[in-house]
């Protein structure tokens, strides 16, 4: 499997490359209502999928985006590449590949995540009710040996299902706009699936809350924090919740750059893993 041709990776690179060459068209939503791209490829914060739909599609528009994310912590490096399509501010489909590198082991763990999200109701900015969305993330673990070795119940695939609510409150904090998101995820995934699904301790789906909040310092600049609870299915290794503090910059509707300080806790026996998270998403039609 190692070194084999990854169409997803090349599609994504092609997408990112073409950002700089195709004529870009204006999109029908307000700046930053794309959210950023989270670790599994959905529109959200850095860690949490939100109810926002990727890109700037509205009113029968399509939107395409491509992203790359890198997080380096003490004993691991995670690279994610992916793309997302959305239609009419209603439907989002995404594909992402995660490449997780383990220090001093000559081991990489690759996982593909195929995502879908449907906006059920509400507009995050303008309706009194929050924007609600239902999503799923189907994960295919390409390198399952490590998962099998650490006692995962399933070392090939798993599916997360989530329900998210997002709301932007205009002028809520001394005149600044505030966004919150609350997500409940049903999941069996160990470390997002990189260490398989379910374990010798717990096998079944659990409901896991995830929350985010941010303040928009300007239309294109947000600072915020996230917290994502996680399962703890394996007896061999403790798994901690993820958290981060982030700053997201949207210079225009074609680009987002997000920097974060991610605290990922204990991963496969290495405690207190934290480090810089950098993510770039390009949006085009």
């Amino acid at each position: 499997m190692k070194g084999c041709f990854s169409p997803l990776k090349y599609l994504t690179l092609l997408g990112l490359g073409s950002l700089f060459s195709v004529p870009l068209l204006a999109q029908g939503r307000l700046l930053a209502t794309s959210g950023v791209t989270q670790l599994e490829g959905a529109a959200g914060g850095g860690l949490v999928p939100w109810a926002l739909i990727s890109g700037y599609s509205e009113q029968d528009e399509h939107s395409l985006s491509a992203f790359t994310t890198r997080t380096d912590v003490q004993d691991f490096r995670l690279e994610v590449l992916g793309a997302s399509w959305s239609y009419n501010n209603r439907l989002e489909l995404s594909a992402a590949q995660q490449n997780f590198r383990l220090k001093n082991t000559a081991t990489d763990i690759r996982q593909e995540v195929y995502g879908g999200k449907l906006r059920l109701a509400g507009d995050a900015v303008f309706t009194a009710m929050p924007q609600l969305a239902l999503g799923l993330q189907h994960k295919r673990l390409l390198d399952g040996d490590t998962a099998a070795a650490v006692g995962a119940d399933n070392d090939t695939q798993g599916t997360d299902i989530y329900l998210s609510a997002s709301k932007i409150h205009l002028a809520a904090l001394a005149g600044y706009n505030v966004l919150w998101n609350a997500t409940v995820r049903a999941s069996k995934a160990n470390q997002m699936g990189l260490l398989g699904f379910g374990g010798d301790d717990k096998r079944s789906y659990q409901l896991l809350p995830e929350i985010s909040a941010l303040v928009l310092l300007h239309d294109g600049l947000a600072v915020g924090a996230e917290y994502r609870t996680k399962p703890d299915n394996l007896t061999a290794f403790r798994e901690d919740d993820y958290r981060d503090l982030f700053i997201a910059w949207f210079p225009h509707k074609q680009l987002n750059l997000t920097l974060a300080w991610a605290q990922l806790g204990s991963i496969a026996g290495s405690d207190d893993q934290d480090g810089l998270y950098v993510s770039l998403t390009g949006y085009f039609q």
């Binding site: 999109q27 029908g28 509205e58 501010n89 303008f126 309706t127 205009l170 002028a171 005149g175």
Partner: protein, 141 residues
């Protein structure tokens, strides 16, 4: 006499101390009152007149009437001394079939007009908050 002087001066002091709290500017005042709003509306009409997406909605309308009614509406929603005397939002927009993207574009044009008029970002947000409830009466009519 002295007591009443004392009393009234204490009262004066108390009111002057409380004054910064009590006399918090209305949004209308922060926008610069009638003159400020006139500048914002001028800028907004300028933005619309250059916008390929939004201009078609305005091309058959009486711009002077729009100027008056929109100024009045901004004055009223920002707690200024005006009453909006125009037609209600849903009948004004009936037949226009305004979509979400059109509404968002108008928001962007208004934000541009507010920025060009020197209105701070936080006051722009405060005004948008007041106008946001109108969206439902404007869409898909």
């Amino acid at each position: 006499m002295i007591r009443s002087l004392l009393c009234s001066s204490t009262l004066l002091m108390a009111t002057s101390l409380l004054n910064p709290l009590m006399a918090e500017d209305t949004l209308y005042e922060r926008l610069g009152g009638a003159e400020g709003i006139a500048v914002v509306v001028d800028h907004f009409i300028e933005e619309v007149s250059f916008d390929r997406q939004i201009y078609p909605f305005f091309k058959d309308s009486d711009i002077e009437r729009f100027r008056n009614k929109f100024s009045e509406q901004l004055c009223a929603v920002s707690d200024g001394p005006c009453r909006y005397s125009g037609d209600d939002m849903s009948s004004v927009h009936t037949g226009m079939n305004i979509g979400e993207a059109d509404f968002n574009r108008v928001v962007e044009l208004l934000q541009k007009a507010l920025t060009d008029s020197g209105i701070p970002y936080t006051d722009q947000n405060r005004l948008l908050k007041k106008l946001a409830p109108l969206r439902n009466d404007m869409l898909h009519r």
